[in-house]
């Protein structure tokens, strides 16, 4: 049983009169939901973007069967979120169904870029004449969608020379009009049927971005094969803020660490594992970053980023402390500037965890703002002295992490 599961409190302990709408209106904490390649290709197929014939499988037997159905040479691709799967051996080719089975067995036993392979995509091997690159994403600074394309596909866009890249900002009210799509095809050197097919694909990609709330729709490579233009890969990232209108989506969270998944399950605000020995909680993304910076500048090593949010209340804060403990840090550092967050709520949560679960390491608390006096008093009763200045508190936390001593 995990610590945070023990933290269940009566409603009477909770005070919801000071509520931060940013917390209440929150849908979840999973930023940008990345799709596996096969999911992206399913979306492409829905919109009529040509993809290779194939199917997702989870067993070598199924891989053999799909290869037999396809009836020609196949490619077996590991489904993990990291790029560069080929270099790690995560992509194999086979000319026979039996060979596909063997390849599938090998890949399913692999770890690709740190990810255990759980599923595969088996699809027809394309006759590749040329590879292109195309992606649509959102340029926050320009406040517009941006289309990026290149006649040189197959490699990372960052590795391409600036002069090979065509970049066009799109008007969100006009979308990607046919004339522009055709001109993009011309600018990367396509003609005839290929140009027409390309123009059709980029318009469909834009449609996916808007209708499926994708932050990124990328095809690399987009393959030329005779008159056909085919999406040989698919990278689609869904905006997690829009998940409420895409209930059909499967969530892939393999790029989160175990403790990050725990934090998410516990309903804790934003959490990122960093690997140091000072566990940190603060309220607000900016001040949390500022706290980590200060700890590091003083020579300490932050274990995590945790924005416990504003107005989280006693129970939510207690659960957040539980997550800090799960990391087995040398020191816990809590930095609260009470606005909507109330110091007494944070103090009550700390006192609750200390009394009921126990905190085996020193706790350094900096606490100012709303209901500060009450919070300081509650902490004093459980033997914790609160600091007023962030600097002094951060220095103390770093010092304790070096000696591993007592508060």
């Amino acid at each position: 049983m995990l610590l945070y599961h023990h933290i269940q409190m009566n409603d009477e302990h909770l005070r919801w009169d000071n509520i931060n709408p940013q917390i209440i209106l929150r849908e979840g904490q999973i930023y940008n939901v990345k799709c596996f390649e096969y999911m992206g290709k399913e979306i492409f197929a829905d919109y009529g973007i040509p993809v290779p014939q194939g199917r997702m499988v989870t067993t070598p037997e199924a891989a053999e069967q799909v290869a037999a159905e396809i009836g020609k040479s196949v490619v077996i691709k590991s489904q993990v979120l990291s790029g560069k799967r080929g270099k790690g051996g995560g992509i194999k080719f086979s000319d026979t169904p039996a060979g596909a089975r063997t390849a599938a067995e090998e890949i399913l036993a692999m770890t690709v870029q740190g990810h255990q392979v759980k599923c595969l995509l088996v699809e027809e091997k394309l006759r590749i004449e040329h590879e292109l690159y195309v992606a649509i994403t959102i340029d926050g600074a320009a406040k517009a969608p941006v289309l990026i394309t290149s006649a040189k596909g197959g490699m990372d866009i960052e590795e391409q020379a600036e002069e090979d890249i065509v970049k066009v900002h799109l008007d969100v009210f006009l979308g990607l009009q046919p004339y522009l799509a055709k001109d993009l095809a011309r600018r990367i050197g396509l003609k005839g049927a290929q140009a027409k097919a390309y123009a059709d694909i980029v318009q469909k990609m834009y449609k996916i971005m808007i209708e499926r709330d994708a932050e990124l729709v990328e095809i690399n490579p987009l393959v030329l094969s005779g008159d056909q233009v085919i999406a040989a890969d698919a990278k689609v990232t869904i905006d997690d803020s829009a998940l409420f209108r895409h209930k059909e989506l499967t969530i892939v969270d393999e790029d989160k660490t175990e403790i990050e998944k725990l934090a998410q399950a516990a309903g804790v605000g934003s959490f990122v594992e960093l690997g140091g020995d000072i566990a940190i909680m603060a309220n607000g993304a900016g001040i949390t970053m500022g706290t980590l910076d200060m700890i590091q500048l003083f020579g300490g090593s932050p274990a995590n980023f945790m924005d416990a949010g504003g107005g989280t209340g006693v129970e939510g804060t207690a659960k957040a402390i539980g997550i800090l403990l799960e990391q087995k840090p040398k020191v816990i550092f809590i930095n609260i500037f009470g606005g909507i967050t109330r110091c007494d709520d944070v103090a009550n949560a700390l006192a609750y965890v200390k009394k009921n679960i126990g905190i085996p390491v020193p706790v350094v608390v900096r606490m100012v703002g709303t209901n500060e006096e009450a919070g300081v008093q509650i902490l004093r009763e459980v033997g914790i002295d609160a600091y007023r200045e962030m600097k002094e508190a951060a220095q103390k936390a770093v010092e304790l992490s070096k000696v591993g001593g007592v508060a």
Binding site: I24, D239, G286, G290, M294
Partner: protein, 287 residues
Amino acid sequence: MAILVNSESKVLIQGITGKQGTFHLKQMQAFGTQVVAGVAPGKGGGVHEGVPLYESVFEACENHQIDASVLFIPAAFCKDAALEAIEAGIKVIVIITEHIPVVDELIIVNRAKLKGATIIGPNTFGMASWKCKLGILPNVAFSPGPVGIVARSGTLTYEIVGSLTNVGIGQTSVVGLGGDRVPGSTFVDMLKLFEADPETKAVVLVGEIGGNAEEEAAEYIKTMSKPVVAYLAGKSAPPGKRMGHAGAIIERGKGTYEGKIQALEAAGARIAIFPYEVAQIIQELLA
């Protein structure tokens, strides 16, 4: 004076009868904000905490002069509410809500640009000028004075405003741009307003990693007559991880702390390494 709004501004609240709307209405009133109308569909004709209620923004605008609107609206409905406020001709629109789909943000922000409205947010604490607070920043985190503050994050701003207030330095206006990928307003937009405001003597810029808003700000700071002090959060952040805010991420080597600091320093801004240094530097500059 101040920027965008002042003690004379007439304010509308959209979503005024909800839990958050009600709580922050009272806080805003206590601050001195003139909240003249509220929108609460189904409750039009009623009165809430002394404020007349209307069915729509259009109806509220037919009955009152409205200078600014604050939205306490769930993310799923924000696009419609913001577009209505823009269409009704309101010039300052503050969107507190976090987690609005980025596609919706694009539509809101570009429509506002077309219609000449200023969007503050989304995902912001709002803004305050003396006796006119639009949003959720604690009332204590503001005192009148000569410093303009523009920031991407909330609590960090309260921390810095608090340290300024502790040494007796107040603010003309405090503006939160919000932490999202597509903010309605940028540092440059606000720096221009502070540069033009006769009462603002110095500006504090509170930035963070991710995006290029600080780099753009640096270009404008080169042309400013007023001193700028910058503090940025995220020096220790690893690349590729979102640090709480959707926009706070180092992607493909861009948006780094070092790059931003270099740009700001080269533009003549004074850099505070720690938040508490901001007040010391401002004291020097105003002495």
